[in-house]
Point group: C2
Chain length 148, copies 2
């Protein structure tokens, strides 16, 4: 079975959404609280504007000597990020991440952000898929009911 982004990977996930005028420190605090590595930046209408990850905080705040308290997310976000759709396959998503060197991608459904997937989530799903594929091939060879 080919796993799809929804419901196999993203499933009732709460979104970590922030606004452009919140600070890098607030984003880092939220990442700690929610144990995530990326937040989405939305406008007042809930439209996706950008994404901020641990990598952005490292490269666009710490590495350049900015103060996290004074740096607005609007100034350090990656604007207009690539996104996934609910029916995209986990394998295609992983391939997109590999090629573009992303570790997180927001999932949009009908224009709204409904989740965020990480390379870790996708890897877990794809591993299960490949293992199932092996088992099915073996079952075809040896019969699928060893005990019967």
């Amino acid at each position: 079975m080919h796993r799809k982004i929804i419901p196999d990977i993203v499933n009732d996930q709460t979104i970590c959404a922030m606004a452009t005028d919140e600070t890098a420190r607030q984003a880092a605090e939220k990442m700690v609280d929610r144990n995530v590595a990326a937040v989405v930046i939305l406008d007042a209408d809930g439209k996706l504007l950008g994404i901020v990850t641990e990598r952005d905080l490292t490269r666009r705040v710490v590495a350049v000597g900015l103060a996290g308290d004074e740096t607005k997310l609007g100034d350090i976000m990656t604007p207009n990020p690539d996104t996934l759709g609910p029916n995209d396959s986990a394998l295609d998503a992983l391939e997109l991440m590999r090629i573009r060197n992303f570790r997180h991608l927001p999932v949009l459904d009908d224009g709204r952000v409904v989740g965020m997937v990480s390379i870790r989530d996708l890897y877990a799903a794809v591993k299960v898929e490949l293992e199932e594929n092996i088992r099915e091939t073996e079952a075809f060879v040896f019969g699928d009911r060893y005990g019967a």
Copy 2:
């Protein structure tokens, strides 16, 4: 074939090594320069003391309002990290990362740090391994020389 950490994953890799008295900002700058997400912290004899990742910079610097210029790596590193050996398998390493929620592990050979592997490196290797496994199983079923 089961892929091993050396030479299949880590292969002639340069180490990003720093000292405890260097700063968070210097580590972030090095991560940008070298396009990595983690550095190892060594003592003067080259012994592994700890590891500092983008996650550590996010959680132990930005989230708590520290200045990257004034924060020493010795104060924010994860001391005595888990490590891999050169003969560990990629699958075992990935399983360790999944269970312990790590994304990077240093590789030690005879007490020296010889590399750093990321969950991304390992995923790529394991994916190839599982695909080969499927191909070999299929070759066993259908014959491995379709054109012969």
